[in-house]
Structures are given as structure tokens and as C-alpha cells.
């Protein structure tokens, strides 16, 4: 079977592994969420919990996409607005706005962060073979944080490489990326 490779190097290794193992599990599980009409997916193993939006304590002089910190059972957890990360228009938070708490593995160990999304959608079992590489958006824009694109029931799901996306050391300004991504569709 043909293996589709992503543009990232370490990604390909992982997928090769997935491809080789033909066990009962037919692919990885992804939690998907909706943002501005698009469906995004994150590896479900990164997800710690899903909770409703509650007001966070703002951090002074933080970038606008950092909404603040919340108390998650005694741990201080920063909340990132993914919309603002992607340069999408910010929307008013409502009681149904959802925070997905993720465990992100970064350079200095793992950290816990929350991302604000419009709504949680579904959990899919996705075979890695069906994944298409993210389109090349040119040299100026890195697509490292996109693991690939997958079709589910004629919808496109964008799978995110969450460790790279939320690496605090260099939280990317993704507005440009998403604009280009939208243009290619």
C-alpha cells in the first residue's frame, strides 16, 4: 500500500510505524473540533479533558491569544485562544464555548495548556494511509504544525501536530498560514 508522507520528517517516521503495525486498532483516534466552520483534529492521547469556558485571570502584557490562566484543580494552566492563533476573527465567549485541556510535550518537558475552540465535534478513528500531506505553502510559511489532511464523509479534517503548535517558546503567528491554507482550498 502506498504510504503518504507529510512534509515533516519526524512525522513520516511515526506514520511508517503506524503503517507497519496491522493490529486490531485501525488507525489513531482523533478528537475533532470546529473553528470557523473548519474541522480540526488533535491526537486524542494528548487530550486531558474538555471543559466549559470559565473566565481566566489575564496575564499582564501577554500576547492577545493568551487568554490568561485558570485553576485546574490546583494547577495553574494557561489558556490559548486558537482562533486568535490562527488569525481568525475573535468571537464572544459563551457558556457553550469549549476549552480543550491538552498535554503538550515541549522542549522543557510536558506542560498542560488549554485551547479555546468553537465547539467539540467528534472522535474519529483515522487510518494514517488516508492522510494527505498538507499542501506546500511556500518557503515563507511553515506547516510543521499540520500533520496532514484527511477526508471524513466528504469533509476535510485538518490534523494538527499539537506539540509543535503550542510550543510556548515560539508560539507562531499563524494568521498568514491559515490565510494561505484557505486560499488553496
Amino acid at each position: 500500500m502506498q504510504m503518504v508522507n507529510t512534509t515533516t520528517q519526524d512525522g513520516s517516521e511515526k506514520h511508517a510505524l503506524d503503517n507497519g503495525v496491522a493490529n486490531s486498532n485501525d488507525g489513531d483516534q482523533f478528537l475533532t473540533f470546529i473553528m470557523a466552520g473548519e474541522e480540526y483534529g488533535v491526537d486524542i492521547l494528548c487530550v486531558q479533558e474538555i471543559r466549559g469556558w470559565e473566565s481566566a485571570t489575564p496575564i499582564p502584557n501577554a500576547p492577545p491569544n493568551i487568554k490568561g490562566v485558570i485553576n485546574l484543580r490546583g494547577t495553574i494552566v494557561p489558556i490559548v485562544d486558537l482562533r486568535q492563533c490562527f488569525g481568525l476573527e475573535a468571537i464572544e465567549y459563551t457558556p457553550v464555548t469549549v476549552v480543550i485541556v491538552l498535554k503538550v510535550v515541549g522542549g522543557s518537558g510536558s506542560r498542560i495548556m488549554g485551547i479555546v475552540v468553537d465547539a467539540v465535534s467528534d472522535v474519529y478513528n483515522l487510518a494514517m494511509d488516508d492522510m494527505k500531506a498538507a499542501p506546500d505553502l511556500g518557503d515563507s510559511v511553515s506547516t510543521d504544525y499540520i500533520r496532514g489532511l484527511v477526508n471524513v464523509d466528504d469533509k476535510m479534517v485538518i490534523l494538527l501536530e499539537i506539540d509543535k503548535l503550542l510550543n510556548m517558546d515560539e508560539l507562531p503567528d499563524l494568521a498568514e498560514v491559515s490565510a494561505k491554507l484557505a486560499a488553496t482550498q
Binding site: 496575564i59 499582564p60 493568551i66 490562566v69 490546583g74 495553574i76
Partner: protein, 842 residues
């Protein structure tokens, strides 16, 4: 290092450091004029256990050094030598030196040998100075050198000879007196290649064995060249109670191990190899042998082929096998019965034996499994250890039995051999910190937990069948829970608390050394040594305290002549006092010296360009005293190695501030100074002042707040368009608008409405504008960096009673963030004059 020993390294280091502390304080007490034997004994004991421990763990450099120390101490102890002040100094130096060595070893570094070697030479000089010292067969001084040489693999030193044949029969009580023959064998093995054969002729019958008695003798062939004294030295501690015969091997007809070919007639031959865990399962082979011995004359031979390498030996495992012989008239059932409990875990072969030759062959074969002659020597020594511990087997291996076909394979499954070698674990971690906690604290904690459990079950029961009438009960239960939680928190915190004497204990020595060096007479008083302080705080306060005490000695206390001239007693006094005050620990360092000299400080400040002479005259005493905390400030006329480089006081202040503490100085010229340090009890909990700015709540560390007051617009002036200053009585204080630098929307933009919190930062006052003061409460500090990153102006976060997060302000960070130029700030705040003068600086 080996796996099994390295796990004890930490304990060894801790105990050694404790021992060194004990040695030090005992040395401090020691008065050459009236020597207290008990004190000497204390020192000796400490040195001895460090020596023993370091030899056990293979830290030979420490062991050798301590050994020389011990030799001198022993002479003092036995009264053959009187102690002089110089000796005490030398001992103190060697305590330092040992401490350095141990530190280096603890860090896994190669220790610096120069220090110990030099001190060792000095000790040897002392030892050599009095030949009467070598009375009880103690080695001449040159031994230590020879030992050093031998240890560094230079056996070709003069006066050496070899090979040696040593017959060593330790006294029966040698184990009980804490002398381990094995350790001596190890020491010998460090000097050169040895082979050891146990001498078993004095072994009593089984029933006469005492587990703590030593009945073994050893025949040691030392194959390298070495001088005789080095060998004697190894045995010096047991020489009195042992038989020791040291000869050159050539002088002696080698009649080694003639007893080995014991007469073994026809009868039962039992090959018994217990499982490695046999001792742990509570089955003692010795007991079995006793049972067998009751049946008839029993002959036992130990099989040591399964002995692992020295480094991997596990004291709780049994590696030995035994070959037993019983007379033919013993019932087979009786033998089986004796082994009944262990037969499942062991390899057991019981057969009728025709004659003795078979056994001898087998035995030779077993021993020949040892890979080389060298390692067989080691194995023999291991057998000796096992023999000393278990006190049973007769061990008769001979290293000459080199190349015979191993026929024992039939009775010893090969797989078992692999099991006997424990897997090597990873390298030892160099530093793991631990804390010693009094048992009473742990007991209190357990009591608390007990109460918590009771409350929890009460609440649980209430919850199961709750009716609204039970509400008062519920509330009562909840308040009880709250109390339990608070008490639990306090007791857990108390576990981290150590008495401040841990820090204070280093000062007597320091004061003594420094006062001698500076020719001053100083008495040190310490009060409140039992005051408890968080371990982390304690570790960080040590260096600043040392600095302050050094300063007091160097700058504070005058020379005896000066003191007499100014009508004081000849000897000065430095008092260290620690006590609790509110949620703080206060440490005071008081001296009755000359105090701070206002003129000299001012002159220095003017020279350094910190002040103009005009301002200088207007400063209050407090402000002048505060100057010494400025960077680069030192009034010592000349830089000594004690103090005066001008890196002192500002570092002290910064360190203390990092601990959320504060330091202030009070001084009266001519009568002395007092430095007061205030520290929070713990770093995990902070006394905070909650303030509100707009909708946000922030927390000020309470210690940094000087005062809070209503601000008034008319009291505020702008300096050069940049910095706003507030006129606080006779001072000008720069102000920071929190809403400005944190970009939050405040309730009041108008300064007439808002409040001003005056905080102290680096000795400067700064006013911070907030909307409202809320409660004061203790807050638990949580890290922001754990999941996010460092935020400028914020030192951490905490969780308030309602579950929301509040940020804790970092005052120095805030000031930096506000971008107020330090130079400007210091000038502004030190000015108490008109606007015109202010403008001139801006």
C-alpha cells in the same frame, strides 16, 4: 562503585558530615590546658567511623588521611602525647580538608589531593617529633608515606620486600569489638596482590560455634613487594588481641592447608546448594547442619564457586553451597527430614559415598571453575567473609587447583550460576537531598491524618442520609475539616523546618579563626538556636549570615587596645539571636563594636559619586546606614581577605530579598550595630496583601510593603516628563501606575481616588497605584512557569478562596518593568529638597 554499596553512599556522606560537625564542635571545646577525655573520645569516635566508612566504600584517600589523624588522636587519647593549641588548629584544618574531600567525592569528582597530602605531612611531622609515641607496636611515621606510595602503585619504593607470608589469627572477640578481619584483607588487597587461605584448625565443633565469635585464621600470601611496616599497619588495631606472624615467604616452607585432605570415610555424601533466597525465607543452613550434626559426626565443606564478584555481593543472599558427609549409619529419612523445608528451593543430591577420593576430585573441580589464579584469591577471601558471617563452613579451596575438568556441572545447573550475579544497576546518583525529621513530628502528622479520616467518615455518613435538619451538623463537620486541614498543613510545613542551630553552628569556628587572625578578642553568644526555619530558607540564608558576621568581626569589633581606650571591656561580643515574630523569623546580629561611622560612609559615598556633598549633610541616619547596602560600597580602609571588597552588603540584601525577606541596620556610633533580618517561615507560603486594580486582583508580598495611603494629585510631580514622584512627608517617592504597566483598565484614573502602596525595593521606596486594598491573607505560591513561562513583574500565582487565580507581584521586576532608571531613583529618593534641585538631576 558497586551497586549494593552505592545505595549507602548518601547515608555515609550524611553521617560523615555529621561526624565532622561533631568533631569540629568538640575541637572547639577542647582546651589544651585541661583536656577532657570524653571530648577527645568524641573526636576520636567521629574520626574512626569516617575512616571505617570510607575504607568500606573504597574512598581510600579519605581513609588514609583519617588514619593519620586517628593515629595522633589515639596518642593523645592514651595520654602519650599532650595536645597543643597548634594541634587543635591542625585538626580543625583537617576537618575542613575532610569536608572538602567528602564534598568532592559526593559530587563524583576526583578530590584534590594537595590539601590532604600537605596536612598529612604536617601530622607526620608531629608524630615523628616524639618517638615515644610508637609504643604499642604502632607503625613509624614513614608508614603513611609508604602506604601512599603503595596505593599509588609504586611498590618499588626503598625498603620493600616480598613476597610475604602472613599468618593472621584474630582474637575470638575481634568481630565484637567492631574490627572486621575482612576489612583488613581488603586493605591488604589494596596494597598489592594477595591470596588468602583460611585456617580452620581452631574451628570448634558445631555446637560450640558462636555466631559472633571469630574462629578463623588466615594465611595470606602477599605477592608484591612492600615494606613490612605497611603490613603491620593494616593490622594495627587488632595486633594486641591477635596472633600475627609476618615473614618473607621464602623463609617459610609452604605448608599451606594441609588440613584440607580430611579423612572422609564411607557414608552419606550430600551436596547441598541452597537457593539464593534461603536466608530471606528464614531458613538458616546452619540450623540444618546442627540437626545433621545431632545425627552423627558431620563434615562440612563449603563450595564457593557461585560467589559473585566482590562488588555485586548481596549480604542477604546465600551464594554458598556445601558438601556434607555423614556416617553410613544415619537413616536416609532423617537426612531428608533435615532438608525438608528447603528442598524445593535448593539443589540437593544425597548419595551413598564409597570413599574420600571422589570428594576431593569434585572439590578440586569446583574450585577450578574460577577463571584465573587472581580471581580465585578473591573468591577465597569471599569465602572467608561468608565464613565469618555464617560461621559454619569449612573452607578449603586452594588456588593451585587450576586446570582440572569441571565435573560438578551435573549437580549444578548452569542457569543458576547466572542468577547468582545480580544485574548491575545504573550509576549512582551523586546528590539526593534528604531531610532528617524528628519522630515526634511524624507522630503528630499521623495523628492529624487520623483525625482527618475520622472527620471524613463523619461527613461521609452525613452525606449518605442527609436531611435538612442535619445542616448544623454538616457545618460543624466542615469547620472541623477546615481545622484538620489547617493543622495538617502546619505539621507538614513543620517537617521542612529545622532548628536554626544548623546554620549557627558554623559560627563559633569562624569567629574563633577570624578573631585570631585579626588579633581581636571576641566572644560569640548565640540565642534562640532552636528557632525553626524552612530548610530551603535556611540553606539560602547561610552565606548572607556569614557575610554579616564577618563584617561584624572585621569592621565592627575594635582591637583590644582600641576597646580599652574607649572604656570598653577588652573582649568584644557578637550576639546572634533568632526568634519568631508573627509569621516571620527574625535573626539579629548585634555587636558592641564601634558602630557605623556616618562621616566615613558619607565621604565614601561622595567619593564614589553616589551623593553630592550637599545632599550628604541632609541625609537621616537611617538613610546613611542604608547606603552600605548599595553595590560597590565598602568603608574598609584596605581590602583584607576577610571583607572589604565591596561586594558584600548589596549581595546580602539581594539574597535576603530573594527569600522575600528584609534586612535593616541600626547603629549607634561608638556602641555598636544591630542588623535585623526578617525572613518568611517558608517559601511555599507567603503573607500577601490583596489589592484590586480594575477587575483584577493582585497580591503584594506583605514584607515589601512599607505603608499604604491615600494618594493626592497635588502631591505628585512629574520629573522631566518621565517619572512621577510623590511627596511622602520629607521624601520623594517615584510612583508606578500598575494599570499602566499591566495594561488593565482601572476603576480610577484619577490619583485622588486611588490608593498608593509604598513598597521597598533595593532599599528604595516606590509607590504603586492601585484601586483598592482587599484582605491580607496567607497564599500558597504556585508556579506560572510550570505550564506557561516567566512573566515580567509577576513572581507566581496563587489560588484564592473562590477558586480563581490571582497573580503575585514581583516588586523588583515591576520596578524594572516600569523602566525607572535606578540612578535617577536613588537620587530622587535621597533628596529632600526643593523642585529646582530635583530638576537639576533630571
Amino acid at each position: 562503585m558497586s551497586v549494593d554499596l552505592s545505595q549507602f553512599h548518601q547515608v555515609f556522606f550524611e553521617e560523615s558530615f555529621e561526624g565532622l560537625d561533631a568533631m569540629e564542635s568538640a575541637l572547639m571545646e577542647l582546651d589544651p590546658a585541661a583536656v577532657d577525655t570524653e571530648t577527645i573520645n568524641t573526636i576520636f569516635r567521629a574520626a574512626h567511623s569516617i575512616k571505617g566508612g570510607s575504607a568500606t566504600f573504597g574512598f581510600s584517600i579519605v581513609a588514609e588521611f583519617t588514619h593519620v589523624l586517628e593515629t595522633l588522636l589515639d596518642e593523645i587519647r592514651s595520654g602519650t602525647r599532650s595536645i597543643r593549641q597548634e594541634d587543635i588548629d591542625l585538626f580543625l584544618q583537617s576537618v575542613d580538608c575532610l569536608r572538602d574531600l567528602l564534598h568532592a567525592l559526593q559530587q563524583g569528582q576526583e578530590p584534590d589531593k594537595a590539601g590532604p597530602n600537605q596536612l598529612q605531612a604536617e601530622f607526620e611531622e608531629i608524630l615523628a617529633s616524639d618517638p615515644a609515641a610508637t609504643q604499642t607496636g604502632e607503625p613509624p611515621v614513614t608508614d603513611a608515606e609508604a602506604l601512599m606510595e603503595a596505593a599509588t602503585a609504586q611498590p618499588d619504593a626503598p625498603q620493600t620486600d616480598g613476597p610475604w607470608r602472613i599468618i593472621f589469627r584474630p582474637g575470638r572477640d575481634v568481630l565484637r569489638t567492631g574490627n572486621e578481619p575482612l576489612r583488613m584483607l581488603r586493605e591488604l588487597a589494596e596494597l598489592g596482590r594477595i591470596s588468602v587461605t583460611p585456617l580452620l584448625d581452631r574451628l570448634p565443633s558445631f555446637s560450640g560455634l558462636e555466631p559472633e565469635g571469630c574462629f578463623l585464621g588466615f594465611e595470606i600470601i602477599f605477592r608484591d613487594r612492600i615494606d613490612r611496616d605497611s603490613i603491620v599497619e593494616v593490622f594495627e588495631w587488632v595486633a594486641d588481641e591477635s596472633e600475627l606472624d609476618i615473614r618473607l615467604a621464602c623463609e617459610q616452607s609452604s605448608s599451606a592447608a594441609e588440613e584440607s585432605s580430611s579423612s572422609a570415610g564411607a557414608g552419606w555424601k550430600i551436596n547441598f546448594r541452597p537457593g539464593e533466597d534461603i536466608l530471606r525465607t528464614g531458613n538458616e543452613p546452619l540450623r540444618i547442619f546442627r540437626e545433621l550434626a545431632d545425627l552423627g559426626t558431620l563434615q562440612v565443606e563449603a563450595d564457593v564457586t557461585r560467589m559473585p564478584d566482590w562488588s555485586t555481593i548481596n549480604p542477604e543472599s546465600s551464594y554458598l553451597g556445601w558438601r556434607l558427609q555423614l556416617p553410613a549409619d544415619v537413616e536416609r529419612e532423617a537426612i531428608d527430614e533435615a532438608f525438608e523445608w528447603v528442598v524445593d528451593d535448593s539443589d540437593l543430591v544425597i548419595e551413598q559415598n564409597a570413599g574420600a577420593t571422589d570428594v576431593a576430585d569434585r572439590e578440586d573441580a569446583d574450585v577450578s571453575e574460577a577463571p584465573s589464579a587472581d580471581s580465585s584469591a578473591v573468591i577465597v577471601a569471599q569465602a572467608a567473609e561468608a565464613a565469618a558471617v555464617v560461621a559454619t563452613p569449612s573452607v578449603e579451596p586452594q588456588e593451585e587447583t587450576a586446570a582440572q575438568t569441571p565435573s560438578a556441572a551435573a549437580t549444578i545447573p548452569a542457569a543458576r550460576a547466572a542468577e547468582t550475579t545480580p544485574a548491575a544497576a545504573g550509576p549512582a546518583k551523586t546528590e539526593s537531598t534528604s531531610i532528617r525529621v524528628g519522630i515526634d513530628k511524624v507522630d503528630t502528622l499521623i495523628n492529624m491524618v487520623g483525625e482527618l479520616v475520622i472527620t471524613q467518615s463523619m461527613l461521609g455518613q452525613l452525606g449518605n442520609e442527609f436531611e435538612i435538619d442535619d445542616l448544623p451538623k454538616l457545618l460543624e463537620g466542615l469547620s472541623q475539616l477546615e481545622q484538620n486541614t489547617r493543622e495538617l498543613q502546619e505539621s507538614v510545613m513543620r517537617i521542612r523546618m529545622l532548628p536554626i542551630s544548623f546554620t549557627f553552628s558554623r559560627f563559633p569556628r569562624m569567629v574563633r579563626d577570624l578573631s585570631r587572625r585579626l588579633n581581636k578578642k571576641i566572644e560569640l553568644k548565640m540565642l534562640g538556636e532552636q528557632t525553626e526555619l524552612d530548610k530551603t530558607v535556611m540553606e539560602k540564608i547561610g552565606d548572607p549570615l556569614v557575610h554579616l558576621v564577618r563584617n561584624a568581626i572585621d569592621h565592627g569589633i575594635e582591637t583590644p587596645e582600641e576597646r580599652l581606650q574607649s572604656g570598653k571591656t577588652e573582649s568584644g561580643t557578637i550576639t546572634l539571636n533568632a526568634y519568631h515574630q508573627g509569621g516571620n523569623v527574625v535573626i539579629e546580629i548585634t555587636d558592641d563594636g564601634k558602630g557605623l561611622n556616618r562621616e566615613r560612609i558619607l565621604q565614601k559615598a561622595i567619593d564614589n559619586g553616589m551623593l553630592s556633598s550637599k545632599d550628604a549633610s541632609q541625609l537621616s541616619n537611617e538613610q546613611v546606614h542604608d547606603l552600605i547596602f548599595q553595590p560597590g560600597f565598602s568603608t574598609a580602609q584596605e581590602v583584607s581577605d576577610v571583607s572589604g571588597r565591596g561586594v558584600g552588603m548589596d549581595v546580602v540584601r539581594r539574597n535576603i530579598q530573594e527569600l522575600n525577606g528584609s534586612v535593616e541596620i541600626n547603629s549607634t556610633e561608638g556602641t555598636g550595630s544591630r542588623i535585623t533580618i526578617r525572613l518568611p517561615l517558608t517559601l511555599a507560603i507567603l503573607d500577601g496583601q490583596l489589592v484590586r486594580v480594575g477587575k483584577e486582583t493582585y497580591i503584594f508580598p506583605l514584607v515589601s510593603i512599607v505603608e499604604s495611603l491615600q494618594s493626592e494629585q497635588k502631591m505628585i510631580n512629574q520629573v522631566a516628563g518621565g517619572c512621577d514622584v510623590f511627596q511622602l512627608r520629607d521624601e520623594y517617592v517615584p510612583i508606578i501606575r500598575l494599570f499602566d504597566i499591566f495594561c488593565v483598565e482601572p476603576e480610577f484614573h484619577d490619583l485622588d481616588e486611588s490608593l498608593l502602596v509604598v513598597v521597598e525595593c533595593d532599599g528604595e521606596k516606590v509607590g504603586i497605584v492601585v484601586d483598592e486594598l482587599l484582605a491580607q491573607q496567607q497564599v500558597v505560591i504556585k508556579s506560572l512557569e510550570q505550564n506557561y513561562q516567566r512573566v515580567e513583574g509577576i513572581s507566581g500565582a496563587t489560588i484564592l478562596g473562590d477558586g480563581t487565580v490571582a497573580l503575585i507581584l514581583d516588586i523588583p521586576g515591576l520596578v524594572k518593568l516600569a523602566g525607572i532608571n535606578h540612578q535617577l531613583r536613588s537620587r530622587v529618593s535621597s533628596l529632600a529638597s526643593s523642585h529646582q534641585e530635583l530638576n537639576q538631576y533630571a
